[in-house]
Structure formats: C-alpha cells, structure tokens
C-alpha cells in the first residue's frame, strides 16, 4: 500500500525559474492496485514518481509505504520497498557487467551486502528460469555483457530485476517510450504478466492513452502538478480515448503530438 499525502515539490526555489511541480498531491494506492498515470508535458508525472522513489527531497507532505514513513529516507534505503524501471533502457542495468551479475545484484535489493562470494550456483538456476520467461533466449547467455543486448532486451531484464524480489511498490516511468512499437508491446505484455503474477502495487506512467486504458485497474490523470482525474474498476473499463481527450480539454491542457500519436 502506498499513501502520498499533500506533497509539494518546487524546483529552482528562490530563483526566477522557480516552478512548483507538485501542488499538494494526495494519492492512495491499495495493495494490488495497478494505476496508469497520464498527463501532458510538465504535468508532474515524473516528479511524482521520483518523489516517491526518493530521487530528490520534497518540500512538504508525507509518503508512506505499508505504514512505514519513507518521507525522509534516502533513495537507496527506499529501494528495499520499491522496484523501478526507467524510461532509458540503459539506466536500469549496468552495461559493462554480465547479465548474471546484474541479476544477482537485483536479488540482493535492499539487503545488506557483505563480503560473501556473490556467485551462487543455485541462483544461476533461478536466473535461467526467470530469463526463460522472457522467451528471448537469454537464459543461455548468463555471462554475456548487458551492453551487447538491445534496448528491449535490457528493458525486459530491468523488469525482471525490479520484480526479482517482490517489491511493495513497482514504479514504471514511461518504460516503453524509448522502444520500437513491437518491442514496446512485448515489454508491456510482460509488465502486465509480472504485475498480475505477483499481485504488485504498481504506478505506471505512460504517454500512450490507449495503453493507459488497456492496462491496470485504475487511471490517474495529472495536470499542472495536480491529480485532476482518478477512476478505477468498472468505471475505468468504460473509459474511451475520446473521454480522456475531453478531460484534457476541460483541464485546458495542450495535448502533445506524442500523446496524439499514442491514441
């Protein structure tokens, strides 16, 4: 469960470029909620995600995961609760390291790392089994360098890594935006499968309105640092792209070309 209360974030405070990115956002995700987040450029989607992940401190408000107050917790400590996939496929994995090295670091997410030899044969079996789920033939390439893989392969592995240990919260920041349409579709299908399989509480930013409607049990629309629309369940199922476009117009938001292309 995630509970975000009244969080405010201002960038470049005290300068002429001062910009309030989040105006007191409230959000509560129940355990198992899969929420998609849409909104125009500068709506505050990424700021919200990064605030939860602890990339930067927030001005005020509080963030709780399962009754643990993580508001002041540094980013690396929050990792014990949160699995993340970034927009840039290069960011989720260490390119200069082997596939299995990346996976074993993910298997120790949020745990104390010591001087134990990191390579355990039993874990290799687990890695092979997980990798075979991707259907990309990577299970036979455990010692290949991550840098040799394509963006889609790396993003798929990042997803596996983020869910290797069941996270309390999965944060996906436009994780298919940098991929070609076919690969993006595969990664989205994998995302949906993993989220359902582990019943993960998930927040997924997307610029693609159709994807926002297709996936998850909840849809959140942001505009100008606020959540302006939050639907779930049956109501969300009935929603159409046309409805969303109208919502955007009511909010006075400009719909970027990118979003239109995604309809």
């Amino acid at each position: 469960m995630l509970e975000v209360k009244q969080i405010v974030k201002t960038f470049f405070k005290g300068t002429v470029n001062e910009k309030v990115a989040l105006h007191g956002v409230d959000l509560r995700l129940e355990s198992g909620d899969f929420a998609t987040v849409i909104g125009g450029n500068g709506a505050g989607k990424s700021t919200l995600l990064n605030s939860i992940a602890g990339v930067f401190p927030i001005d005020s408000g509080s963030i709780h995961i399962n009754d643990t107050d993580i508001t002041k917790m540094p980013e690396y400590k929050r990792a014990a609760f949160i699995g993340r996939v970034f927009q840039d496929p290069m960011l989720g994995t260490a390119g200069n390291m082997q596939i299995e090295e990346n996976l074993l670091l993910a298997l120790r997410r949020g745990k104390r790392m010591g001087l134990k030899w990191a390579f355990v044969p039993k874990e290799r079996e687990l890695f092979r089994e997980r990798l075979s789920l991707l259907g990309l033939g990577l299970e036979d390439r455990l010692t290949a360098r991550m840098g040799l893989l394509s963006g889609g392969q790396r993003q798929s592995i990042t997803l596996l890594m983020a869910t290797m240990l069941r996270p309390e919260l999965l944060l996906l920041d436009e994780h298919t935006a940098a991929l070609d349409p076919k690969t993006a579709e595969n990664v989205l299908t994998l995302t949906d499968k993993l989220v359902k399989e582990h019943n993960l509480t998930t927040l997924m930013i997307t610029h693609n309105m159709r994807d926002a409607l297709r996936f998850g049990n909840r849809l959140i629309m942001m505009n100008n640092g606020r959540i302006i629309f939050d639907v779930r369940g049956e109501e969300k199922k009935k929603l159409t792209v046309q409805d969303l476009l109208e919502r955007f117009e009511v909010a006075g938001d400009t719909i970027s070309d990118r979003m239109m292309l995604g309809t």
Binding site: A80, M90, G92, A94, N102, A106, A118
Partner: protein
C-alpha cells in the same frame, strides 16, 4: 644484460600495484583520482620512517597501507559529503599530503642506510638485489591480483563495480553509492601506498617529491595493458594492468637505452598517455573519412 631484463621486470611488477590502484579508480569507479600523487610518497614516508625507527619492514608496509586507506577515505568523503568534484577532491588531498608527508619524515628525504628491508631478507639467502626485487614484485603482484579477483567477486565488490558503471541502477538496488565510492578510493590508495613503500625500500630512500607523475605512470600502465592484452573479462583486465605495468617499464628501458635523456622521461610518458587515451577518438575520425 640479464640484470637489466630482470630489474626491468622487477620494477614493472612492483609498480604494478600503483597501476592496480589507478585501475580501481579510473576504470572500476570511473573517477580520475589524483590522490595517488600524495598516497604513493605517503606509503614511502611511513614505511621508511618506521624501518629507520627499527620496525619490521613488513609491518611498515602494512602501516603504509593503512595510511593510504586514510588518504583515500579523505578524498572519498570530500567528494561524496562535501560534493566537491572527484578530480578536485583528489588534488586537495594530494596537496595536503605533501605537508603530511613532510611531517611523517621530519624532512624532505630519509634514507635507509644499511637498514633491513623486505629485499635484504632475500639477499641474506644469497639472492642478488635485482632478483630479490623481481621475486618480491612477482609475489605481491600475484597476491594482489588474487585478492582483487576475490574481492570484486563478492557482493560488495560487485556493488562497487556497478557504482562505477551505473550509479542510478545500483542505488535502485538499495546500495549507498557514496559508501561504495569511499570504499573504492580506500582500496585504491592502499595499493598505491604499498607500491610507494615497496619502491622506497627498493631504492633505499623516501623522498617527498617521489609522487610526481605517478598518476600518469599508472594511467600509462592501465592503458598499455588494455590495448595490448584486452578487457574482455574482469580477470583479463586485471592481468592486463599488471602486464601493462611491465611493458611500460620495458618501453622506458628501451628508450633510455636508445639514448633518451632521463630528464625527458615524464614528458615522454605524458605524450604516450595522451596518444593512448586519444586513440579511440583518432580512430573514429580516421574511419569517418
């Protein structure tokens, strides 16, 4: 001639610890750490001063390692806690160490007149000074390689490597990258200080100015090793660095043999490193024509 070959080999192996230290920061952590210019003479100063005071030479080397660790931690904290860029943090520590080293030795130069060193142990067994250097060099290079192979295969070691490659990714796995950077700098400068201690014991003196240019020598060794012996795996990279240090000494011995004035050595090394570092760029330019 045999003497020249063995002594070149020995020097290369001894100095390979410096190259390993530079490899840890420059390649593993992706930081150009200039602390080495101060921690190398620091190791020398600590070791020589202790030996002169009657301390066992091996223990003096361990003390030098601890000194190097402290130097690395200082640079690490200045960089991660005070947010000063790594390059500048290293320069600050390097400059500060100049004064520290003078304090350690009490003067600018301390010599080891007829004192016991790690080499005299071997010489007592009827081994020539040149061979003693080579044997010690081989031993420490081998042990260091073994240690690092183990260390970078542990959980913490893997986390340090990931920190150098992709800090954002490893933070997302719950690792404090600041701590990893400090640890890496600690380890690197321990190796560099031990190199300083071993070189000083071999030369028979420690000098406050002996650190000048060590970063470039270290870089030269790392890059020569990578170009000649490859970087396909971590073990290969590590071996390449040690061999690179030996090749560097061979190159130096050859140019000196061919009559280059010793005064031009540092200029030569700097040009060598500049060329080696720019090779990828030059190659790309050449191919794009």
């Amino acid at each position: 001639m045999e003497n020249l070959i063995i002594s070149t080999l020995g020097q290369g192996l001894l100095w390979s610890l410096l190259a390993i230290g530079v490899f840890i920061t420059f390649r593993v952590l992706d930081i150009a750490d200039l602390t080495v210019e101060g921690s190398f003479p620091l190791g020398a100063a600590i070791s020589v001063t202790l030996v002169v005071a009657g301390v066992n030479p091996i223990i003096s080397i361990l003390a030098a390692a601890v000194g190097g660790m402290l130097a690395g931690v200082v640079t690490g904290l200045v960089h991660t806690k005070l947010k000063i860029p790594a390059l500048l943090a290293g320069i600050l520590t390097m400059i500060a160490l100049y004064s520290v080293n003078l304090h350690v030795m009490g003067k600018a130069n301390v010599s080891l007149l007829r004192m016991d060193t790690v080499y005299t142990y071997l010489e007592a067994m009827n081994i020539s000074a040149t061979w003693a250097l080579a044997i010690v060099g081989l031993l420490v290079a081998f042990l260091s390689g073994l240690f690092l192979f183990w260390f970078f295969g542990t959980e913490i070691g893997a986390a340090i490597r990931a920190t150098g490659v992709n800090p954002q990714m490893i933070r997302a796995q719950g690792v404090n990258t600041d701590t990893m950077i400090v640890l890496g700098l600690l380890l690197s400068n321990a190796f560099v200080a031990v190199a300083g201690a071993l070189v000083a014991q071999g030369n028979g003196y420690a000098d406050v100015g002996m650190g000048v240019g060590t970063i470039v020598i270290g870089l030269a060794s790392v890059i020569i090793g990578e170009v000649l012996f490859g970087t396909r795996s971590f073990v290969k990279s590590l071996t390449a660095v040690v061999l690179g240090s030996v090749v560097y000494r061979i190159v130096i011995a050859i140019v000196l043999y061919l009559g280059m004035p010793p005064n031009d050595l540092k200029l030569f090394t700097a040009v060598l490193v500049a060329i080696a570092l720019s090779l990828p760029t030059l190659k790309a330019k050449w191919q794009s024509r």
